[in-house]
């Protein structure tokens, strides 16, 4: 297997507005030294709570957000070091699908133009060829060619997400970054899109970087899963390893919090692991493990020393005291 994407020590900081007259600008560390790899033809899911830095990680990895440091090797080439114009040329290899189907399409453009635009920008083929390809893509994602000339607001959310996907596929990308592709959709529609994504992955041999806060979605689509907490990956493993034998208490908390059809009130289900509170602020994150304050297993060391992401048993985990849920 070949590495498509190799992200090393990626760090992203945002400067916040100054407090006080001459105070320094506080820095928000949205992504803190994150490393992961993605192999060709596989799907990596990134899960985590809101604000944990999922989107930022993905955006920095494809250089749509500026990284403070780190490397992003795409097929061995460091994207972050490329000159602007070369990066532009590289964009055809990496495409994006967004969360909000309502704001991800330019409301003033016809969908045919939206889907064709990447080809226009890359100056691929003749106009007829481009339009023909748009037609093909429309069929591929399950839209009708007679809808080509409509405007985005004339489509439903699910259909818009299909248009987004068609646009993303236009340039035959190798990597598709999907940022919460279904979380704005109704469950019934979610299934349509997830199935479509799964189908495309197989048919076109795509690799996915899929972001979601819904473990169910990730489990359904991804081969590997990384769990983020406050800008760091706290656990990274194959799907089965992660869902069956999670080692990090935060992953376990996520799993126990996710609603499941198997847990019935009628059967007197009581959540086994309760964690309290909210994640700490990404401005001045704590020196030790970010989860320590909410963690049932936390000891003094957790508050002082940041655990590294290491192979520990079934998963790679960043925890001083990894292990299965204590009974």
């Amino acid at each position: 297997m070949t590495k498509l994407l190799d992200v090393r020590d990626l760090t992203v900081r945002f400067a916040m507005p100054r407090k006080g007259l001459f105070g320094p600008r506080p820095l928000l560390e949205a992504v803190r030294s994150v490393s992961f790899t993605l192999e060709k033809g596989r799907a990596l899911g990134i899960v985590g709570e809101s604000g944990s830095g999922k989107t930022t990680t993905a955006m920095a990895a494809i250089r749509l957000t500026e990284a403070a440091s780190g490397q992003v090797l795409f097929e061995g080439e460091d994207l972050l070091a490329l000159p602007d114009e070369e990066m532009r040329a590289h964009r055809r290899n990496v495409q994006l699908i967004f969360q909000d189907p309502y704001s991800s399409l330019n409301p003033r453009a016809r969908v045919i133009d939206i889907v064709r635009e990447p080809m226009d920008l890359m100056e691929m083929g003749t106009m007829e060829e481009r339009n023909a390809r748009v037609r093909d893509l429309f069929k591929l994602v399950g839209l009708r060619p007679d809808q080509l000339n409509l405007f985005p607001h004339q489509f439903s959310g699910g259909q818009r997400q299909r248009i987004s996907i068609a646009r993303a596929l236009t340039t035959n990308p190798k990597l598709l970054v999907c940022d919460e592709p279904v979380s704005a959709l109704d469950v019934a529609i979610q299934a349509q899109i997830l199935n479509l994504l799964a189908r495309l992955k197989d048919e076109l041999g795509l690799s996915y970087l899929l972001i979601s806060h819904d473990l169910g979605v990730v489990r359904h689509v991804c081969d590997d899963v990384a769990v983020m907490y406050l800008g760091k990956i706290v656990e990274h493993a194959s799907r089965s390893a992660l869902f069956d034998s999670a080692q990090h208490p935060y992953t376990q908390a996520l799993l126990s919090a996710a609603p499941s059809l198997a847990r019935r009130k009628s059967k007197g289900y009581v959540r086994p692991l309760k964690i309290s509170g909210d994640p700490p602020s990404p401005i001045n994150p704590p020196p030790g493990c970010a989860f320590a304050d909410r963690c049932p297993r936390a000891q003094d060391i957790c508050r002082e020393v940041q655990p590294d992401l290491e192979d520990k048993g079934p998963t790679r985990v960043a925890c001083h005291f990894p292990g299965p849920i204590a009974a």
Partner: protein, 289 residues
């Protein structure tokens, strides 16, 4: 499948127009404005008269002499002729000033909103600076400095009113910049220029068009105010000038100030009805998704 009802491929602009057409006050505005514009453009064709000529005794009441339906002013000049010729400059200054306002405001606002950082900081400080100067006073100074002509007036009005447009544009850019379709454009390799002009600006247009409409109204009032104070172009008949010129005689003759005042009022009124109509037409809350 019912998921896409049989829509026509209707562009947002067309849809806005459809909404606009249903808006009765806005249509009233269009009718009034068209009437005024036509009257100022072609009125002299039907009613020839030199507004500068002293043609009759001063202060003839309206309706007394058939030749001068609106009476005469303090010099004995025909008020109707003045109304018909005076509208052109007033409207022209309004439109030109609005255009200048929009050009400066949109340029600076979009640069500030798009690039952010120090560009934004610098441009916004300049904007704030201009907002601190009381507009009319500043315009008066400018007009006197560069001697009154239609152009200087239009430029002065533009120079004092752009900050609002700049702020609006900036706000729109800031809002739209964060939307995912802009990221999408960048993700497919669009350059900044294209993103500004082809992606963000068209989407920022609706509020800007509304604001442009309102700016025309404000500019007309501004021009009238300046002319009223005697800072207008004295060789160009305008409604404001008529009011200013006849103002000393209001106790004897109400009509030479009343008619031009009404004309200004109706013009601005019509323009703002249209502006409101456009605002409603562009407002997505008022139409279905």
């Amino acid at each position: 499948m019912t998921d896409t009802p049989d829509y026509k491929a209707e562009s947002p602009a067309r849809e806005a127009w459809r909404m606009f057409r249903r808006n009765v006050p806005a249509l009233v505005g269009v009718v009034i404005l068209s009437f005024i514009v036509l009257a100022t453009l072609y009125g002299t064709f039907f009613y020839a008269g030199d507004p500068y000529n002293v043609v009759w005794a001063p202060h003839e009441r309206p309706g007394v002499t058939p030749e001068f339906p609106l009476g005469t002013d303090y010099l004995g000049r025909d008020i109707l002729a003045g109304m018909l010729t005076g509208g052109g400059p007033t409207l022209a200054v309004g439109a030109a000033a609005a255009a200048i306002t929009m050009v400066i405001g949109i340029t600076l606002g979009s640069l500030a909103g798009f690039y952010g950082g120090w560009v934004d900081n610098l441009l916004m400080r300049i904007t704030e600076f201009f907002q601190v100067l009381p507009a009319l006073l500043f315009a008066m100074v400018l007009v006197t400095l560069f001697s009154p002509s239609l152009w200087t007036i239009a430029i002065a009005i533009g120079v004092v009113s752009w900050p609002q447009t700049a702020r609006l544009t900036r706000a729109e850019f800031l809002r739209i910049k964060e939307l995912e379709y802009v990221t999408a454009a960048r993700a497919i390799g669009a350059r900044n220029k294209r993103i500004i002009w082809k992606v963000i600006l068209p989407n920022a247009m609706p509020p800007l068009i509304v604001s442009a409409t309102l700016t025309i109204g404000i500019a007309i009032l501004f021009e009238a105010g300046l002319s009223f104070l005697g800072l207008g172009d004295p060789n160009v008949m305008s409604w404001g000038l008529m009011i200013g010129a006849n103002r000393d005689y209001i106790l004897d003759a109400w009509w030479p100030v009343t008619f031009p005042g009404l004309a200004i009022f109706f013009t601005v009124f019509a323009v703002s009805l249209i502006g409101d109509g456009l605002n409603d037409a562009f407002n997505p809350k008022l139409r279905e998704r």
